[in-house]
Amino acid sequence: MNARRFDDLPPDWLAAYADGELTPTERARVEGWLAQNPDANELLDAQESLGPRNGELWDAVCPPTPSLRQWDHTFNQIAPRTVQPRRGWTGWIGSVGLVATAATLLFALPGPQPCCVDAPPDIRDLSPSTPEEEPYLMASTEDVRIISLPEAAASLLIVGEHPMGDGLLVLADRGEIAFLGVGNDLAGRFPALPDDPNAEDAPMIWAPRDE
């Protein structure tokens, strides 16, 4: 770490420093920068005095506590609009009847059934047909962890290898992506893109520059 790098430290790092949101390495970097820039302690003071760790301030200005009656009233307004009462046996009979009718109609229809398809719907093959259409790789399989993939979003979140066969699937092609803006990440790496996508500190989403 040298003095030049401390000079480059964005002041908004002081917010994360005051809130304990930096890694030990990042904290050390800020502390080094503060040691070399004592004037910046005034900036830090504003961050600490209005941060959540200033318990004295937030105790003093805590909102008036609603009464139990007010809480009960609020809950009683919520409950009927979110909780659907459990169905009684008459409701289940009605549902069973509806399903049976629907099944009868479905299997009575002639020809192939529309619900039987071999592949998930809406997955487009975006394999490049010409060199000009070479896709941007937004992330590798290792870079992405899909926490939830509802059926409706299946066509929007295809990253990495095809789960059902050979060939590459991509998130989108070049014409479908527009970057509206790129902000700094916590390590201050954006908006500058790295030349080497395999560098240890390369950001997760990276695209090669147009030649």
Binding site: S49, L57, W58, C62, R81, G183, L186
Partner: protein
């Protein structure tokens, strides 16, 4: 002989949400009790009075539980709820401004229907704290909406930078930047009232 009961672990949020949406009123009540305080603090700080804040909490809980397709467990339920509550509070604030009632809202209203400020043996200190609360309310109101919301979700909602980023759909760098500038401005507006 002494019987030792193992401590009961609190039920996970996703289990409670699932039960609540299946019609289990007890689960809904548990969720409400678990998160009503941070939701209320966020709404109060964005609106400045108890009645409106409780309306936003009510609206937020209803929308959070009836629009679960937008949630899909991509973040914690608390993050999702505070996102919806803060949206509801800002919407309510806009409606109120349109009704040209801003001046009435800036002044902290007492809550004749039972809401109470913390008890104080020292009336002088109580007055000082009310004064500080009013000053903070006014200073917050002068911040740009995005900075105000970011600040409140972090400080009053207790969300981490990552959670605020998830709640607002922005990067952690943007959270950091908004918090920095919000505090710089607040410090300037509140001058010597706020000490570390």
């Amino acid at each position: 002989m002494r019987h030792v009961t193992a401590p009961t672990l609190p039920e996970r949020d996703d289990h409670l949400v699932a039960r609540a949406t299946r019609g289990d009123r007890h689960a809904l009540e548990d969720l409400f009790r678990r998160y009503r305080d941070p939701a209320y603090r966020v709404a109060y700080r964005l609106l400045g009075n108890t009645d409106d804040a409780l309306d936003a909490v009510q609206d937020g809980f209803i929308k959070a539980l009836t629009h679960l397709r937008g949630f899909e467990y991509r973040c914690s339920f608390k993050t999702w709820l505070l996102r919806v509550v803060s949206n509801a509070a800002l919407d309510l604030g806009r409606q109120r401004r349109r009704r040209d009632e801003l001046s009435a809202a800036v002044t902290e209203r007492t809550t004749p229907d039972g809401g109470s400020t913390p008890d104080h043996a020292d009336p002088g200190r109580e007055a000082e704290e009310n004064d500080l609360r009013r000053a903070l309310s006014e200073a917050l109101r002068l911040l740009p909406e995005a900075q105000r919301r970011t600040f409140v979700l972090h400080v009053d909602g207790g969300l981490s930078y990552r959670e605020v980023a998830e709640a607002m759909g922005i990067s952690i760098g943007t959270v950091m930047s908004r918090l920095f500038y919000a505090r710089q401005k607040l410090k300037g507006m509140l001058a010597s009232r706020v000490q570390v």
